[in-house]
Symmetry: C2
Subunit: 377 residues, 2 copies
């Protein structure tokens, strides 16, 4: 596996790059559709190919509970199990476990938690999570970290980060020693934490860099802090992280967030927003977002976006989509999901083209007011 | 529009035919996937093309309530509205309205009912239902009839049939006078009723034949009567109905029912079984049916049916499909629906091929014990 930084825009930190994996190449910046339970909700692998998805994300916590990583491993890994032959990134499961609040207990060696499904007791340690992901066979594995909630005190953030760094070290060593289970290469990314504290973020990044990971994520953002903090801390981290390694901003975000973060030097994104919002009837376009259920679209013969080339916009009216939502028809969820992901992937492809032509900053300035508006007709 | 009977098998009444509509040709016998609310649940028009669906069914009652036939008409008809450019048949809405039981009242001129959605009051008359279907723009419209419940007394069946015949006459006359709304041809089918009473069925068929409809349906079966009655009455009706007109057995049925009815001279079928059962996790194959949720499929790497050429069987294991059901993932509903409809359409294509080769009866004898069995491994 390999990452090549191809170009940085003359007027910003925005980068165009290329990640090569044993399951295919990924042009960056890239958005990764979230496929929590071995499926990007409502879509088939064929749909994902059609919207030019290049890498998808799986959730270790969910896959560990159902159907179990051993079962998936027996199928030759997650790619084979779910019929997706492109690259896959798995998270560490940490974020989900720490979100369980009353159902989990952290100590220096790991975290004990109860399943949200049946209350059964489980334990994630750095060693265990690493093994799970090896067996899932993701192209990119993430270290187990602790993601402090917002707000966190400086004290808590410091203590939490010490554990995260310690765990990162354990996993980095395992990564050195262990061979892939399924015969193809896997990468392990470190995750920068530190809440909103610049010095802790800096320390976290520097410690991880010493360990020399194949790539770095920025975690613990988009958890409720003001947007300015998110952008500022992203900027700080990308300023420290090495130029020749991919950077992944976890759990982000809106179209606006993507543009702002690409400008600050981020290469990879994932977020449930395009898929979850689609299922709630909210769709994104280059001209803003719209709530398809609104009565004003009842007889609207226009597609969501007449400039969009996706299957949904090529074939169906807003009125038809609204009808599908109105009647609780599953096809509506799928057609909107397809559109939203198509748009997110179009957006990052556009960004890349403009980066390569040194026109990203200009393009971003023009498109930003549009993507953040609300479409009324 | 046109129907050509091409061949009757030497050893049975099984027929192969060809229906030509302004939206394409339909080789018979054919199964029509049910698209109640302007969508075959979980599938896109593209999916329907891929499984070689040739004609789908829409439900007048549902479309009248949501989004309304005027709205659909303003879009140029149901084909345009839902993005399906193949033939469509609409039912009359009668079956749904009469199923409302306490919410409807029949008189000689029509039926007054309350919407199951909001309790609002509506009235269907032969004239109104005919107008709704003209505006929906279905290729094949059905007359408003009364479908007597099972069991019904002879007295009730006779009285009900008199109304059905009267309404059929009214609609047949309107069909003669009125031009299509959307510029392409529409057919109107009469519906033979008469519950389980052979003489009433005979009378019903003969009266309708006098009116010379483009095609005839057999209604009021598969409503709870014993299978023997259903097959016997189907046989009776096809014995009376003209050879040169298509025959449609409404709401039928299991793979077994299709084979038995094709043998008795039926050309067209519709049923929610393949779609509804798919959503419940039951799939059909040439070797029987299986309940995908069963624990024994937890680690089963085989497809539903290794001989099946559908997208689902070409790409996914029983274990993966079971996982999707287990985690309530929408993709599971879609992949199973796709498979089940693919199987039903494969079954009628196979039947047709065998009819043309005079091997239908032999083939049916061999496949019947298989399709009615339960797959355990």
């Amino acid at each position: 596996m390999q990452f090549k930084k191809l170009h940085t825009e003359m007027y910003s930190k925005a980068r165009a790059g290329l990640i090569s994996t044993d399951h295919g190449e990924i042009e960056t910046p890239i958005f990764m559709p979230v496929g929590t339970q071995a499926t990007v909700k409502t879509l088939s692998p064929q749909d994902l190919k059609e919207i030019q998805a290049r890498i998808i994300l799986g959730n270790t916590y969910h896959l560990y509970l159902r159907p179990g990583h051993e079962l998936i491993s027996n199928f030759g890994g997650l790619h084979q199990f779910m019929g997706w032959n492109g690259p896959i990134l798995t998270d560490s499961g940490g974020y989900q476990v720490f979100s369980l609040k009353d159902l989990r207990k952290i100590d220096e060696e790991g975290v004990t938690f109860r399943s949200h499904l049946d209350g059964s007791s489980h334990r994630f340690t750095p060693e265990h999570v690493f093994e799970i992901q090896r067996h899932l066979g993701s192209d990119i594995m993430m270290v187990l970290d602790e993601c402090p909630p917002y707000p966190s005190t400086r004290e808590y953030a410091e203590k939490s980060n010490a554990i995260t760094i310690k765990w990162a070290g354990i996993q980095r060593e395992l990564y050195e020693k262990k061979r892939p289970v399924h015969g193809y290469s896997q990468w392990l990314f470190g995750i920068v934490q530190g809440s909103v504290y610049e010095d802790i973020r800096t320390y976290s990044a520097e410690e991880l860099i010493k360990m020399d990971f194949p790539g770095y994520a920025i975690g613990g953002l988009a958890v409720g802090e003001p947007k300015e903090d998110m952008y500022r801390l992203t900027d700080l981290c990308t300023g420290i992280l090495p130029e020749n390694k991919p950077r992944y901003l976890m759990g982000v975000g809106t179209p606006e967030d993507l543009l702002e973060s690409i400008e600050r030097g981020v290469d990879m994104f994932d977020c449930v927003m395009p898929t979850r919002n689609a299922r709630n009837g909210t769709v994104f376009t280059a001209n803003g977002k719209m709530v398809l259920k609104a009565a004003r679209f009842r007889e609207d013969p226009k597609p969501i976006d007449s400039a969009c080339a996706c299957y949904t916009c090529s074939n169906f009216s807003r009125a038809y989509l609204r009808h599908l939502y109105n009647t609780n028809e599953i096809l509506g969820l799928r057609l909107s999901t397809l559109h939203n992901l198509h748009f997110y992937l179009w957006l990052v492809r556009q960004a890349r083209t403009h980066i390569l032509e040194n026109s990203f900053s200009e393009w971003k300035k023009n498109i930003l007011p549009k993507v953040t508006s609300i479409i009324k007709n």
